[in-house]
């Protein structure tokens, strides 16, 4: 159902909405155009403003070629690996926790739920610095495990899956129990298949968390071999000889992957995020 205010010219509002959307798009367009123009022209067409401020006069992929021959591909591979591993393992951690909190009639269920969700709602970054010292002692610095582990348990993912598990009719569980099915089978064959969109959303939340992480990989992955994309790009801008074209090209490459995922799964993602937050 569309929510509407009393009659207003629809056309004007549509134009305003388009304007807002394009305004948010503008920095992305500028980033794209700067990545696709010769590096010497990045600051050229700024004043006076012209079409060429936002559209390259000469198109070239030179910046992409340069950046793909540097350290970037390795860091993108690292980011992908960490993101995907976190999504896969994290869905297991979140789904099992959500199942216990939503389906099983446990003692102290409310208290456990509050403990889990509240403690994972405190943003991780505040504990990143002490945890980094712990991880160094445990020999997890500069390892994939060190990068993956902190992303595994995610309060939002647990909360989201619990909401969806609560929506599954209890009759299904009871019927399975009467048939003598073990809990693991009930979890695996009833709850997981019925909540696939929510599981995908949870995976996306976990992936995005890792893809966007900055402070933790900055602290724990100092070895270039294990460095992640965002830390690499931030480092590019602090070099003595700054190559703006390459920075833009690297930025574009780091944006493309999550954006493609997000646009592809936007429906399920935005809906479930919105529901999990306020319901």
């Amino acid at each position: 159902m569309r929510a509407r205010f009393p009659l207003r010219p629809r056309l004007l509002l549509s134009i305003a909405a388009a304007g807002v959307g394009l305004l948010f798009l503008l920095p992305v367009l500028w980033m794209l155009s700067s990545a696709f123009r010769p590096e010497s022209e990045i600051f050229t067409y700024l004043s006076p403003l012209s079409v060429h401020t936002i559209l390259p006069k000469t198109w070239t992929v030179a910046s992409f070629t340069a950046v793909l021959h540097g350290g970037l591909p390795r860091t993108i591979f690292n980011s992908m690996l960490v993101g995907l591993a976190t999504a896969l393992l994290g869905v297991v951690v979140s789904a099992t926790a959500a199942f216990a909190l939503a389906v099983l009639n446990m003692r102290f269920r409310r208290a456990l739920f509050a403990l889990v969700v509240i403690s994972f709602s405190v943003p991780f970054d505040i504990l990143a610095i002490p945890l980094a010292s712990n991880f160094r002692q445990w020999g997890l610095a500069n390892s994939y495990a060190g990068l993956i582990l902190p992303g595994l348990a995610n309060g939002l993912a647990i909360f989201l899956l619990r909401q969806f598990f609560l929506g599954i009719p209890v009759e299904l569980k009871e019927a399975a129990l009467v048939d003598g099915a073990p809990w693991l089978r009930i979890f695996w064959s009833i709850y997981l298949p019925l909540t696939r969109p929510a599981l995908i959303s949870a995976g996306l939340i976990l992936f995005t968390f890792q893809w966007q992480a900055y402070l933790w990989p900055l602290l724990i992955a100092t070895n270039p071999k294990i460095q992640l994309g965002p830390v690499y790009v931030a480092g590019l801008s602090n070099l003595y000889a700054v190559h703006f074209g390459q920075i833009f090209a690297a930025c574009v490459l780091l944006c493309v992957i999550p954006t493609a995922l997000m646009l592809y799964l936007q429906r399920t993602f935005t809906q479930s995020v919105a529901t999990s937050g306020i319901k």
Partner: protein, 313 residues
């Protein structure tokens, strides 16, 4: 719960004491299974949240510096005493509070405005919504780097201002403008995210309410402030609180673009902790800051949950 009712029916003939025992046994067995299912999450809770919290608390009572190497000595509340009397720490706290207040106000108003606009049945709403949401999906370090180049004195933002006849601005190189420049950057990133919650909230308001208001002759302004806004209270409170928490932890722009400067104007609390721990090398002081900050965040999170639980269903 209903499974228990089934069992109740089955064992109704057993008599009250036997029944209670049976129910108790089922509940205990479900508790055991539940703990098994919860164990991965509880283990991560223990090693990734509780353990570092305890080590931060412990470190905050010690003095450890690069000079002392790995050894440290017990100093009681000295680190806290130092912080309470430190003008630099007070400045950093105030900078963070200013940043959070301005950012949350701007983002909430913008998100609300955009959400209202997008729920008027405008054409192409899904596309415009995706565009506003797009910056949210970009890693913060990437947005920071791109905006950092745009903010350069010879950058694209000054070119736009020049075209509008406005003088060049120093942006990140000025202690007056650096923090506000970061507000602009994080608002571009964040607004789309919060807009989604408010759109969802607006869609849940039954149209009859507004129709009734229209029948009673209420204008759009009166309808909005008298009916829509009060009904939107729940998502609005969520957005304000969650956004507050998120912005308290702003870090990347200060670290990548300004290193806390110019003149400590962007030395937000998390960057202060980071440089205290990694540049100054005073782990004890950094830990004391972390503990204080953690208490503040926990209080906000707890208040948020109390509100949401009280107003749920």
């Amino acid at each position: 719960m209903t499974s228990i009712e089934d069992v109740t029916r089955l064992s109704a003939s057993l008599g009250p004491r036997a029944l209670r025992r049976t129910l108790g046994r089922i509940r205990s067995s479900e508790t055991a299974v539940g703990l098994a299912f919860l164990s991965p999450a509880l283990l991560s809770l223990l090693f990734l949240r509780i353990y570092p919290t305890i080590s931060a608390i412990s470190a905050s009572f010690h003095h450890a510096s690069l000079l002392l190497g790995t050894s440290s000595r017990w100093v009681g509340l000295d680190n806290y005493r130092f912080l309470v009397h430190s003008p630099a720490f007070a400045r950093s706290v105030l900078t963070t509070l200013e940043f959070v207040a301005v950012t949350v106000a701007i983002q909430t108003v913008l998100a609300l405005g955009i959400a209202v606009l997008f729920t008027q049945g405008v054409r192409g709403e899904r596309l415009w919504r995706s565009l506003v949401f797009l910056p949210t999906t970009i890693p913060i370090a990437v947005s920071t780097v791109v905006w950092g180049i745009a903010f350069r004195p010879d950058g694209v933002l000054n070119a736009v201002l020049g075209a509008l006849g406005i003088a060049r601005q120093p942006f990140l190189t000025s202690s007056q403008q650096a923090l506000l420049s970061i507000v602009v950057l994080v608002s571009w990133v964040g607004v789309g995210y919060w807009t989604i919650f408010l759109i969802a909230g607006l869609r849940e308001i039954p149209t009859e309410y507004r129709e009734a208001a229209a029948v009673d002759g209420a204008g759009p302004m009166k309808t909005f402030f008298g009916i829509v806004l009060p009904l939107l209270r729940r998502p609005l409170v969520f957005v304000v609180v969650a956004n507050t928490i998120a912005n308290f932890l702003v870090f990347a722009p200060s670290q990548i673009l300004t290193r806390g400067g110019p003149d400590n104007a962007t030395r937000v609390i998390l960057f202060d902790i980071y440089s205290q721990a990694y540049q100054v090398g005073d782990r004890g002081l950094a830990s004391a800051e972390i503990v204080l900050f953690l208490i503040l965040l926990l209080a906000i999170v707890a208040a948020q949950f109390r509100f949401l639980l009280r107003h749920s269903g």
